[in-house]
């Protein structure tokens, strides 16, 4: 007679060291094997979208900071591009260049956190602290220019809140040459570490068609081998002027689309961001960053959907204007939210320890998932 066994329900989070915030996962376990994963969201819901309806267009910008708080520049960028498209404003060249540099710096800083926490979840605490040390470098560069370290409110509709600090160009150049060593160090310490590869390769394999069906974007999609990056495929701002590659997952250590591929795509993306910054930093034209900022933002009736490539994927803003000073509706397509949906699919049949590795490789920010 077969022994009757039951599955165990393990509640992971909302207070758990590696759910990256207040995510609650309901794990159904058979021993240590995952039978089912049920994510529960909403612990950090702050009604961003409803809030935005009660504010003027420029007042929404600080709230966008607070969605993906690891990539506030990208959030600002997406929102101001959408409103500018609605208004039909052309911003000065200088603004375009500074925005791109800031967004790419932010991408590196955000990937630092993503890679570091992914490693830390698996037990490698030292690379995590090395990456945070270098993220600090970026934050201090940005701080010098806009005064904030995390929630910048830097990009305004039609311009920027401040011009760059006189030290900005020099320090950014110093950073780009310095950070290349960090990437080498990271590769040696973590990326090609045998134990790390054992833990992430062939874990949580996401086939390309599943990724597309679920609407995954960003490193999640590129890790599965799909070469899709909005900076190239639906280019915005001045990204078409720069020469850079789109790294995709090739399954170097396991199969295409496993956790290691998603990790590795981020490492290589940091290199490409450095390339963009290096090209852009020498070309910043002279000019005034405030000249195109409208006195009063009152766009004509209409709708606009504008999307940017945030570190976590496609960040889209859908804005409906009814001709007033407040937006009628702001809908955000948050990349983390969409990417998180795949978690259950990825975890089935793996062990409890793998949930952590997979969740780390998805790289969610709960501020953005719940908004």
């Amino acid at each position: 007679m077969a022994l009757k066994t039951e599955t165990m329900v393990l509640n992971m989070g909302p207070q758990h060291p590696s759910t990256h915030g207040v995510l609650r996962l309901e794990l159904e376990l058979d021993g240590e094997l995952i039978v089912n994963v049920k994510p529960h969201l909403g612990y950090l819901h702050r009604c961003f979208e409803k809030h935005a309806e009660a504010m003027q267009y420029n007042q929404v910008i600080p709230y966008t900071d607070r969605m993906d708080y690891l990539a506030s520049m990208g959030n600002n960028f997406g929102y101001v591009l959408a409103v500018e498209k609605l208004l039909g404003i052309q911003v000065p060249e200088r603004v375009e260049y500074i925005r791109v540099i800031m967004a790419e710096l932010q991408r590196i800083a955000s990937h630092c956190v993503a890679l570091g926490t992914n490693g830390a979840d698996i037990g490698a605490l030292t690379p995590f602290l090395y990456l945070f040390r270098d993220r600090e470098y970026i934050l201090s560069i940005i701080e010098e220019t806009c005064g904030a370290r995390m929630l910048y409110n830097y990009m305004w509709v039609g311009g920027l809140s401040h011009d760059i600090h006189p030290n900005f160009v020099r320090r950014t150049k110093e950073f780009t040459s310095y950070f290349k060593n960090t990437i080498v160090e990271l590769d040696n310490l973590l990326s090609y570490n045998k134990i790390f590869i054992e833990r992430t390769a062939n874990i949580g394999i996401l086939p390309a068609d599943t990724a597309i069906n679920y609407g995954a974007t960003g490193p999640m999609l590129r890790g599965s081998g799909v070469k899709f990056d909005l900076r190239k495929d639906d280019t915005y701002s001045i990204y078409n002027r720069f020469d850079f590659d789109i790294p995709v997952g090739k399954g170097l250590q396991g199969s295409v689309g496993d956790s290691w591929d998603r990790y590795y795509v981020r490492v290589r993306e940091m290199e490409q961001s450095l390339r963009i910054i290096e090209q852009a930093i020498d070309q910043i034209p002279e000019g005034d960053v405030h000249s195109a900022i409208p006195k009063r933002i009152k766009p004509p009736k209409g709708t606009v959907y504008s999307r940017v490539e945030n570190p976590r994927g496609e960040l889209g803003y859908f804005i409906i204007s009814d001709g007033n000073t407040n937006p009628f509706r702001v809908k955000v397509r948050a990349p983390s939210f969409v990417n998180l949906e795949i978690l259950g699919e990825l975890c089935k049949g793996h062990l409890v320890a793998d949930v952590i590795a997979i969740l780390g490789s998805i790289d969610i920010v709960l501020g953005e998932v719940d908004r």
Binding site: H16, P17, A120, I122, T126, L129, I195, E198, R199, L351
Partner: protein, 355 residues
């Protein structure tokens, strides 16, 4: 040690007391220094400063922590199995503390000089498993239970390669007494077992590679036995919050911590006794050269503590460098790699010891 202090003081009571308190003081000291060192070593490796506020170089940080633990409220969840919950930390601590009774810090400085010291140490240290299982089960917490189950599986599995290596050494040396094993490796460092032992013959050179393999197997499996990275799966904080001691706080929690650091030193001591001459100095004694024979036990104690802390440093080094393995990979390492190699090693050493 009893003899030594008896000759020194002439009092039975004082010498008995010192002998009895000695292991306790040792394990507490090891834990105090160990926690401090762990923080400092990790800080150096991670480009940080580490504790530097409490006392010079933050030296009193662990003492401050210890005082804080003592003052803390002993919060116990109403759902726990009270008896087991309260016994578990004591049992775990007792297991690691009892090992210190037989560890020879020098030829004179040893709690109890028993003939089967090695066997006793292995037996008593596996006592810890019972405590860990108790803690996990009685906490009535799923994370604790998972941690305890992992821990029991891990410690029981990794005792096999340890025992196999120890068995080989015992066959070769013909004794289980830790002091005798140490005394065999006296004089210079080329007499250490890792370099083939004191006898200068062909077998010495044949032994060296097998000794190295034995040492590596033993070191890896002791890492797993004391739950250190890359084998810190039972308490993997990113998965299981804190593993089997999730539900504990205050002094009870501190006892788990104490026993962890106590164990670290204990296994380092066993490894250094078996392979690295125990308390023997690598290059003769200053006491012999100067004719001051009373100096020798102190020198020996210095070398023993130095070796012990060196291995602890290596353990910390590994912890702050490597990620952790998954539970099934951990078992794979043990059953598919360590145990077969340990068996081969055992057989070869057995054959060599015949000659």
């Amino acid at each position: 040690m009893y003899q030594y202090f008896y000759e020194l003081t002439g009092s039975v009571i004082i010498s008995t007391l010192i002998t009895a308190i000695f292991p306790l003081v040792n394990v507490l000291l090891v834990a105090l220094i160990g926690v401090y060192l762990e923080r400092k070593v990790s800080a150096w490796m991670q480009d940080r400063v580490g504790p530097n506020r409490t006392g010079p170089f933050g030296l009193f940080q662990t003492i401050a922590d210890f005082l804080k633990m003592l003052q803390k409220e002993d919060a116990v969840s109403s759902e726990v199995d009270k008896k087991l919950y309260n016994i578990a930390p004591v049992l775990v601590f007792a297991g690691s503390f009892a090992v210190y009774a037989v560890i020879p810090f020098s030829s004179k400085l040893i709690g109890s000089e028993i003939e089967v010291g090695l066997f006793y140490a292995l037996a008593v240290s596996s006592f810890v498993v019972a405590g860990i299982l108790m803690a996990g089960w009685s906490s009535n917490n799923k994370y604790s239970l998972l941690g305890a189950m992992r821990s029991a599986a891990q410690i029981v599995s990794y005792e096999i390669p340890t025992a196999l290596v120890v068995l080989g050494m015992v066959m070769l040396l013909g004794t289980l007494s830790l002091t005798k094993i140490s005394d065999m490796q006296t004089a210079y460092f080329w007499n250490w077992n890792i370099f083939g032992g004191p006898e200068l013959s062909v077998t010495k050179f044949i032994l060296i590679p097998f000794m190295l393999v034995g040492f590596v197997i033993m070191f890896i499996s002791t890492l797993a036995e004391v739950n250190r990275t890359p084998f810190d799966i039972p308490e993997a904080e990113s998965e299981l919050v804190a593993g089997y001691f999730t539900e504990y706080c205050g002094m009870k929690w501190a006892m788990f911590m104490l026993s962890e650091y106590g164990n670290m030193f204990a296994v380092s001591a066993i490894v250094s006794i078996l392979f690295f001459g125990g308390y023997q100095s690598p290059f003769g004694y200053l006491g012999n050269t100067l004719g001051l024979h009373w100096l020798i036990p102190y020198e020996q104690a210095f070398w023993f503590i130095f070796k012990g802390w060196f291995f602890i440093f290596v353990q910390m080094w590994l912890r702050w460098t490597l990620p952790r393995l998954r539970v099934d990979q951990l078992m794979t390492v043990c059953w598919k790699y360590l145990i077969p190699y340990a068996f081969v090693n055992l057989i070869v050493i057995g054959i060599i010891s015949l000659f």
